[in-house]
Symmetry: C2
């Protein structure tokens, strides 16, 4: 298939973009992409590719931007229930303790997720996965973390793998047993930390290796929420160190509300990414600037909480860091499936240009989940994951907000139509 | 047609909601709506209506919220071109004067809109109208204002009326010749003010009365941008007073960047609404609290501009004012078609509960365009304009953001399907 006549083709070629290089789009006017067997076979200008492949089936992208499928490198995709009532309480001025007293907070999602049947969990999660895909996300990282006991965490992980097998959205799983201290260990966080290390991580590893369908597939990431009222720096280090010994690649939630040193810990341990990064210090920023640990900013979280402080993205870029953005899609602070909205918010809250935000949502996001060899840019040999937008200029991403500008999503060469502005008379 | 089994039916009955009464939803669990001849014939609980109308064709709304179609009471829907390049400059740190020097700003949209053929203008505007409708807006106020000369303003007005005639989105037009000082009068704003009063307003009135298709229809609103670098208080008063003499209903843009006294002027002249209201003083707020002039907050504009100051909505409510919200959809500061995003943003930036934001986007928005007798609530005798959401709890509006929660839009009894999460394999 030859996708041709794109007003602008953004290749994002050349690998992850560090520091001030962020925003290098590799823009080709009147661009074309040759897709064969689910992969990209060639990239170039339309006249050249049309001449070289005259008999190829064609897909006309006139008046459109074509770009890599968006990669969402930080989500809590799998949960049951919702916390709409808690949101209403918060907007009416309730304090955190009021919400906890009313049975709210993360543990309410843990209760609902533990109680949900695998079928119910799959159905609720599938609806979000489809919404993400319809908004142009072709690869998503998704964390467990609403089980907080070996068996429930396993149920969440298997739900993610089942959804990935269904497609078309590709799911890269992360084990986040260390999302919060399990309610059974409320007074003994160290006991829960030890349980993660002694039982949960080895159990995930053993299960993974026991599954023929997962043979050859990279191990899931292991992540930890390094924060007051969650896991302190020492506990975070214990969990990540154990995970690393077992061969898991690492991620860390750091500096969302307080700076405990999680970012520098992530860099020290070679984590693929450190995520949130709001209360990040100058020393942490300098550490990021020298590392391959991607700084994943989650602007929907302060937005969702009506807070005013965001990731110091420009300082991270000035230090030479590799910046990515993600939805953080979760039921407590940011139920948003759209990376397009993240791009629009990142322009305003992180002071990125549209080009920078697009690179942060594609090639750099792919690097944050260590899949930049397969997705995040349009280059021969990579997966044919791309979007055809309903607009002729890439800068309309960011400039416009609140709706869906995707016309078609192509995943591994399969074309799916999306209709952001269309209604059908029933 | 009987729409039945809604998890929650929100009637919003009882008229515009003043001050602390905002947020009265009229919620009926397991609700049903009987639709006949494009109007609402009855409202009630499902068992009652099913028993009373056993042979009526049925539409199952199980698991859904049913609520009035959203009303967007402030938009600049009709324009040609875009200002994506200007957005990129702004995000890269360019100042207002740089943008003007690069040919940007409102006058660039005026140039494009004047130059556009009526067909091109209609096509570009229709795409936005469809996107609004797909996101649940069933009635929209839309302003001229990118012509700034008699003939071009007339072209914009006729485009709006042509789109309204096409349907399904219902368009309530506003004449905003006083959007900016026309470039031909750059050094003579008073001359342009006089032209509006002596030529443009009488011309619109004469044209309107010459059209048989418009017989019996309310006159368009006349609006003025009362702001530094636009029209000062005296000029604003001159224009609105003339419009009032001619019989036009009034609106005013006030206090977006500076407080010139526009809000109190609007109240004094009995304007249907005063809009923007960021730099609004305590005296203005008190005046709103005693009046029928609706305070229309446009939170997408500070959001779009990455500013931090929003309408003092809670103070307006405490003073007893009638608060509505709108998109302000326009190419310079806020290209967003979704009132669902406005609701989500209003919860966070204006500190409204979901229930308050919904009332501000339905019955109060209808009052801001003086159509609360026909739309904005579900009551027998009113238009059958309603939404069926893909969620069972109204609080998911506001709580969730970035995507489209509408499953179906019903306009004057006709059902249109929308698919926020669906993609089709092509």
């Amino acid at each position: 298939m030859l996708i041709h006549s794109a007003s602008q083709l953004l290749t994002l070629q050349g690998g992850p973009q560090r520091g001030p290089d962020l925003g290098t789009l590799g823009l080709i006017e009147n661009g074309a992409v040759l897709v064969r067997d689910g992969e990209i076979a060639a990239i170039g200008q339309t006249p050249t590719l049309l001449a070289a492949h005259p008999d190829e089936p064609r897909l006309d992208a006139s008046g459109s931007v074509v770009l890599p499928g968006l990669v969402d490198p930080h989500t809590h995709l799998v949960w049951a229930g919702d916390r709409a009532a808690e949101f209403e309480m918060k907007m009416a001025g309730a304090h955190y303790l009021d919400i906890l007293a009313a049975g709210g907070g993360i543990l309410s999602t843990v209760r609902a997720s533990r109680a949900a049947s695998p079928e119910a969990l799959l159905e609720q999660t599938r609806a979000r996965a489809r919404r993400m895909f319809a908004h142009g996300t072709t690869t998503v990282e998704a964390k467990t973390g609403y089980g907080l006991e070996t068996e429930s965490e396993q149920k969440l992980l298997q739900t993610l793998l089942a959804l990935d097998a269904e497609g078309p959205l590709e799911i890269v799983p992360t084990f986040l047993g260390a999302h919060a201290v399990a309610p059974e260990y409320r007074t003994d966080p160290q006991g829960y930390t030890d349980l993660i290390c002694s039982e949960m991580l080895p159990s995930v590893l053993a299960w993974w290796h026991s599954q023929p369908a997962l043979a050859g597939r990279p191990l899931p990431f292991v992540d930890v929420f390094c924060e007051n009222q969650a896991f302190d720096l020492k506990q975070s280090k214990q969990i990540l160190t154990k995970a690393k010994e077992l061969g898991f690649p690492l991620k860390i939630h750091a500096d969302e509300f307080d700076n405990l040193g999680g970012t520098s810990l992530g860099v020290e341990l070679g984590a693929a990414s450190a995520d949130h990064l709001v209360k990040t210090s100058a020393a942490d920023i300098a550490a990021l600037g020298r590392s391959e640990t991607v700084a994943v900013s989650l602007p929907c979280t302060p937005f969702g909480l009506a807070e005013r402080e965001y990731t110091p993205a420009r300082a991270i870029l000035e230090a030479g860091g590799i910046l990515a953005v993600a939805t953080d899609c979760n039921p407590g602070t940011a139920w948003n499936e759209s990376m397009q909205f993240v791009i629009a918010l990142a322009c305003r809250a992180l002071k990125l240009t549209p080009a920078q935000a697009i690179a942060a949502a594609t090639i750099n996001a792919a690097h944050a989940i260590r899949r930049a060899d397969r997705v995040g840019s349009l280059e021969p040999g990579k997966q044919a994951d791309l979007l055809i937008l309903d607009v002729p200029d890439y800068r309309q991403l960011g400039y416009r907000f609140g709706t869906n500008l995707v016309r078609s999503v192509v995943k591994r060469g399969r074309v799916f139509a999306v209709n952001g502005e269309t209604v059908q008379s029933a």
